[in-house]
Symmetry: C2
Subunit: 174 residues, 2 copies
DNA sequence: ATGTACATGTAAGCGGTTACATGATTCA
DNA sequence: TGAATCATGTAACCGCTTACATGTACAT
């Protein structure tokens, strides 16, 4: 079994105490090319983790901004995380709704397929830009060599697939 | 919302009647780089689809092999599929347990990380080989130009990521 | 006026996973 | 003798999605 939201959140908290909002931010900017998270998953998971005593919550009252909860990993949490990270890795999974549409698009008009391409290319370019924009800040705040590999992987993945997409988009238009 | 198992199975049945076993085979060989399916999902989905009258079942008794059920899409099923395929496409999602391990691997010994790399490279090479091996048969049985793009995408994706992985594996070993 | 950043939560339910159960035939 | 191919299913459960609910401050 692969690492779930539970273990991923513990992993982020290993790097220091954070609020749910900050956890989401890290996930969206640095891990978004290989994990997808939403608040709907983050907050309930944090609650469960607290109930299991794998993290502790510190409530901070703020006047100008909404109150916040800062979560800190416990010893038990660190043990749970160490165990998870040592487990063998499982298969990578790619789910592409765009490729699925394309695969079964025989009865769709060219214009509609062209629109699907346009949208997928935009989304990927945006994702690539977000990742590239992160590099500077990330290097300043401390990026390990191993994390750099996950970054390179993301760049290569977006670059290679965008190239196929752009070539194909041209060919179907003609 | 993206296409779920339900719509994917309807899409395959648009191409002709099939058993659950055959549906799995198509999914594993031609769509495995952008969709993941298991029997645990296929059979229950087929059952629901039949209950909703989107497909019909024909039972075939066999003596030398297990009996089988051949499913055929109905008009209502075709309508449901047409609707689904016309919907806008949603974001691609990549889940990589390997990259997650790598991202959080600071406390793991080099040898263990090296093993993770080795396993991930093997898995990806196997996937790439399966896809490439399909090409000939697929072209014979009829492959649309649009399906060819999904194939090219898979090859590019595996090739580019394998390259990053192989380079990185060398660098961490030293 | 509109959007973005900050900030947290719940309830219902879906869609899939995991584990189990069965069994003949053919090929190496 | 073991593995692969053919072939189908169920039951329990989990993990996440979706939709909803709320509110301030600041910038454009």
């Amino acid at each position: 079994m692969s690492m779930k939201g539970r273990e991923v959140i513990l992993g982020i908290l290993q790097g220091g105490p954070h609020t749910g909002y900050e956890i989401n931010d890290i996930l969206q900017t640095r891990l978004s090319h290989f994990f997808d998270a939403t608040f709907g998953m983050i907050y309930p998971t944090l609650k469960k983790l607290e109930a299991e005593k794998l993290v502790t919550k510190q409530q901070i009252s703020q006047t100008d901004r909404p109150n916040k909860n800062i979560y800190t990993i416990t010893k038990a949490g660190q043990a749970a995380f160490s165990k998870a990270i040592s487990e063998p890795t499982s298969d990578e999974i790619l789910k592409s709704d765009f490729l699925m549409h394309l695969y079964f698009s025989q009865d769709l008009p060219t214009e509609q397929v062209a629109l699907f391409f346009k949208e997928e290319i935009s989304r990927k370019e945006a994702k690539l830009a977000t990742l590239q924009a992160q590099l500077a800040t990330w290097l300043e705040n401390g990026m390990t060599d191993r994390q750099q590999i996950t970054f390179d992987y993301g760049i290569a993945y977006y670059t290679a697939t965008l190239e196929v997409l752009k070539k194909a988009a041209k060919s179907i238009a003609s």
